[in-house]
Amino acid sequence: MLGSTVINHRQHVGLQELSALAGVTHSFLGPDKTYKFIQDDASGESALVRSCFRLFENLELTCAVGQLVHETIQAHQRVYGTGSGCLLFLAGAWSRAAVECLQRGISVPHVVAAMSEAIEVCEDVCRICSISIEGLGATQSEEGGAATPHGSGLQLSKKSVPRASRASCHKTLNISGQRKIKLSRHFYEAEAKTQPDQPEPPNITYLADALSHGCVDAMNLAVEANRLQSKDNQDVGCSTFDVTKVLTCVVPGLPEERSCVLPGCVVLLSVEQASVALRLREQPVNVALINGDLSHDFRHLGFKRPAGIQQVSDRSALLGSSPEEEWLVKVVALLLNLELNLILVSGLASEKVIQRCCGHRILVVEKAKASVLKAFADATGGVPVTYATQLTKHCVGTGAKVATWRELHESATAVNISARGNGGLVTVVLTSCVRGKLQALEDQFWACAHRLHRALKDRAVLPGAGATEMLCVRRLQKRAGHRSETSGAPTEAEGAVNPYRGEVFRLMADGLIDYVSTVMFNTGRFSKVKARTALRQQLQECNGHVGTAAKFSQVFSEGENEDGAFVSEAKPAGAPSMKVYDNLSVKQEAWRKALDLVLLVLQTDAEVVTGVEQKTAAEENLMLL
């Protein structure tokens, strides 16, 4: 008999599970990541992973918290493509903070209220210290390479501190209007006011360097992809980057330096198909776009196959050809009639169709992404159809091109398919001699591409290398009041509302310190203890200055210097110190999601498991309803 079971969580098991899950991903933080092997004892299979979302993809988690974490990470990865490690780390760190709160006797609603307030403080800090990408890095050359810690953004803000009026608080940073960032009185974008119509194009190289987070090669590919795409779209400043139109093609067996970016769509084809491609090169070809499978028995989604149909015939069925053969003849005749030479199929094509088409010099390319179909539809005037039999003159796209890019080995050739202008379609070819590394290389590239895409979309970035986190720590600690951690009496007037705010804020801040120190630890230049001591020392030094709002920017710039120090220490000796930036929206969203996870788990006191058999329930000590 199946029943529902209730697991009571009196020991905050959920929070501990969350913290334990997060612990697995410590080594994926920061620019210096390490690989992890996942091995399946049962099947003997193993996977090599280097990022948080790949790790969870390869783990089979049956516990409820594990599922919740997996869903959250997937959702984040789907939209932002980067930052899931940060998300999970903070979820773990803040769940430890929540456990600590509960152990100190702070009630759940108080923890929830204070933590929600703390995340608002952090988001406010992000808004304040976000730097517009316009004109970023422009001053670099003037100052002879000795980059100021904060680029031009801070220079401006410093100058304008005394002039800024209250009204400027609500001015938006970017008048061109992509994203509205509320300005604090400390950061006043003078340039935006003088030239509202012509936003200065961002310095992509500088920006990309600062966002590469150690993946220099992958970021270079992303920059190149952006450049090619912008050239296609006649966007001189490279001011947008459409990652949906970027494709990757992984090629094993070539050294990593051979990775490159090509306009159009590069696919790996079999020898037979490659020979067709070879014959089609250098001439404009007609293209058909099929949204579905190219096979005889494919039917559109939602089509129900009739069950009770019986074919009645007076002649023997053997005399005629099979329906598949009939279909094949009809389709090929239609394709020839329309003078088609290239067919892009979003699904799969049957082996017979591919072979038959090869014989007629028609190239069939399977598994084309939706964005590829769309780009080809836009560039060639073709109309995507579901069935090949739907094709008419009107649906055929013209002016597509096929070119052999490189013969890789006996069984595969990389062929480049393109159309006039390509509609911004570019392919990044990723190569490696080590097959097991390809996945990680691909992930790295996508992370970089998404970081660049987000920065251009947000039109703003955050100071990286832990600087934003440390500013949040300082702000949280300041709001918590300077008291020893043991004293409980609130001193501030606002403290009366939630007497535990200070304690919770300080624990949240500790979580952020934990994050930065783990990143420092991963560089291999700090021990955990040394990293923490260094961070605490800096905070203490700064606390001497904090107190008045007017001094904030001064402290801020000091914070920048010290954060610059992390980076330079993390770099090999002698290397010039380089600026590091983080994505604004990615960080804010990752923090929010991390806290959402903690709050959901924190407020959960029981699991209801359905479909449990009585036997297992008794074994696992579950309560059966």
Partner: protein, 587 residues
């Protein structure tokens, strides 16, 4: 040939079944005598009570619902989500579960209240040692007292709703929305959603139409990954057309009013349901293309009749879609059954259920205007009604799926509760105040009529007092269930409202109790007297708070839902107390 094979297969299966039935002996039915004396059943009921009571109220704890083989996890504290997940081998648990679910399906709100009260009543009745019949009779009598008091004009825990301002509506909505912490909303977000819910409710009321009034409805669309504050309400209907090929040109959308056709039949091009019958088709006949030709005829007629919007509840054959689009028609497929009714109401179209006749003129509907709206990754087609219409769409946004799904449930619940106010424009004081007030009233009322009522009910006076105590204690335990953090519950000795003190405030210093009672109507003052909720107090007649006081309650509960929940709880408890045997067929 085929037929023979099938027959053989079926015949062999039948033989197998016969063999099986001959070999397996039927087990005798299981009979449980006096189920409430059974420790296992009592433990299960107590577990169910803990499980549901711990969800109760704005600081209630959440439950993660999932199945044993992984799969998605639902985090919730809502009875309508939680209860269906609970399946038990114990008929007693299922009895209570189905009774509560039935209440929730009709009234949406107060499911946890009903469940907690019902289980508390059963537990108390068992503890008190009263005979089943006595307890049942007493509960019935006391329920009658409560119901008639709640329906009285001068009931002290009832508030007449003022439709002149939105304040009461928003408060009512807010009380429901804030009672579900799995939505993870800030104060500001709660208020925003409460206002939207009230606005949506007002939009579904038809204006100035004499005669029969038909209420409209609110359609909910959800968008994941957006801030809650981006949620909004629109008059008319928003259909998700993300990914569908939609006209980019705005001018093609503005030839008002536009003709709409709506199909409830599938246009996928497959054969309609054949049932068990078999269709014999001569070889060489392509059924698919024949059906397609018929569909194309329909399409051609739609073009001829100048249809501009072509909607199908199910799938439309890609060829038809291509044809219609090439004629400048906007095509929407896979609308889903839930959106059919609102779309019919909005456009006045009659859904076409067959493909075998020409489209009748009266099947066509109208829309005034179309526009495209973008919410995050979702593209929505906004249909404006041709005339006065009470259809509106609520777009709910939240950061993640878990919280969004709870928010959706809560908003639908709020909509239903607000509608109930049209039936009975009253609300009950929330925050546990109604429960404590009712308990005090029942104590007072029944003390004054001990002798006569005991005689009528055929029980001794001590039994009567025991029953009253059990009933009132159960009511008060529901109020106490609102507190989950070890705080203490109190009752004031004038109005009998519910008060709580945090666990970390020294207990016993009730005099320091400042602030407000649970519903926010009564303010603490040094002259007030309190007592612990589980302590004995001399009965008194609870006073109604002054009617002309400018103070408005901050927490309100649905009158209709709570009244029904009270009845369901007592009647279900009585039914449970009345069960003498459980007979289970275990085969």
């Amino acid at each position: 040939m085929v037929n023979e094979v099938t027959c053989v297969a079926i015949a062999s299966r039948i033989c197998f079944a016969l063999v099986m039935s001959r070999h397996v002996k039927k087990s005798p039915s299981l009979c449980t005598d006096r189920p409430l004396d059974n420790a296992d059943i009592c433990n299960k009921l107590s577990l169910l009570r803990q499980l549901l009571a711990s969800c109760f109220g704005p600081t209630g704890r959440l439950k993660q619902v999932h199945n044993s083989i992984g799969g998605c996890v639902v985090t919730t504290s809502t009875s309508s989500v939680l209860l269906p997940a609970i399946s038990s081998a114990q008929p007693f648990v299922n009895l209570i579960k189905s009774s509560i679910l039935n209440h929730v399906s009709r009234f949406s709100d107060c499911g946890l209240f009903a469940a907690t009260l019902c289980l508390a009543l059963v537990e108390r009745a068992k503890q008190s040692g009263l005979g089943g019949n006595v307890a049942i009779g007493l509960n019935k009598h006391l329920l009658g007292l409560c119901v008639s008091y709640l329906q009285r004009e001068d009931c002290g825990c009832k508030v007449k709703l003022d439709f002149g301002s939105s304040q009461h509506l928003v408060t009512l909505a807010r009380s429901i929305i804030s009672s579900k912490p799995a939505c993870v909303l800030t104060e500001q977000e709660t208020l925003h959603i409460s206002k939207l819910a009230s606005q949506a409710f007002l939009l579904t009321l038809p204006c100035a139409n004499p005669g029969t009034v038909t209420l409209g409805r609110t359609v909910t669309a959800s968008v994941e990954g957006h801030s809650v504050l981006a949620s909004a309400v629109f008059p008319g209907l928003l259909l998700d057309v993300t990914g569908a090929l939609c006209p980019h040109k705005a001018e093609s959308l503005n030839s008002s009013p536009m003709c709409v056709v709506l199909f409830s039949a599938s246009l996928a091009g497959d054969l309609p349901e054949l049932g068990d019958g078999i269709v014999e088709v001569p070889s060489g006949v392509d059924t698919d293309s024949q059906i397609l030709d018929q569909l194309l005829e329909l399409g051609k007629q739609a073009v001829k009749d100048e249809v501009k919007l072509f909607v199908c509840q199910k799938v439309i054959h890609p060829v038809i879609q291509q044809y219609l689009r090439s004629q400048g028609i906007i095509v929407i497929e896979r609308l889903g059954v839930t959106l059919m009714e609102p779309l019919i109401q909005l456009t006045g179209a009659q859904p076409v259920a067959t493909l075998h006749s020409t489209l009748p003129a009266k099947a066509y509907g109208k829309v005034r205007d179309l526009s495209i709206r973008q919410f995050g990754s979702k593209t929505m087609l906004h249909l404006h009604p041709p005339g006065e219409s009470a259809i509106c769409t609520m777009v709910l946004c939240h950061r993640n799926e878990t919280m969004l799904s709870e928010l959706k449930v809560v908003c639908q619940k709020t909509e239903n509760v607000l509608r109930l106010t049209l039936r009975e424009p009253s609300a009950l004081l929330g925050g546990g105040c109604t429960e404590t007030h009712l308990a005090a009233y029942v104590r007072h009322k029944s003390m004054n009529e001990v002798t006569e009522t005991a005689a009528v009910l055929g029980c001794s006076q001590s039994e009567y007092l025991l029953g009253v105590e059990g009933f009132c204690h159960s009511l008060e335990s529901v109020a106490k269930a609102l507190e989950h953090n070890g705080g203490n519950s109190f009752i004031d000795l004038t109005h009998a409202h519910h008060w709580t003190l945090r666990a970390d405030v020294m207990s016993g210093c009730m005099e320091d109790m400042t602030g407000l009672c649970g519903c926010g109507l009564v303010e603490g003052s040094p002259s007030r007297k309190w007592t612990c909720l589980n302590s004995k107090y001399t009965e008194f007649s609870p006073a109604s708070p002054s009617r002309d006081s400018p103070v408005q309650p901050r927490v309100l509960d649905s009158f209709t839902a709570k009244l029904n929940a009270l009845q369901v709880a007592v009647e279900t408890a009585n039914l449970a107390l009345d069960v003498r045997y459980i007979i289970q067929d275990v085969n």
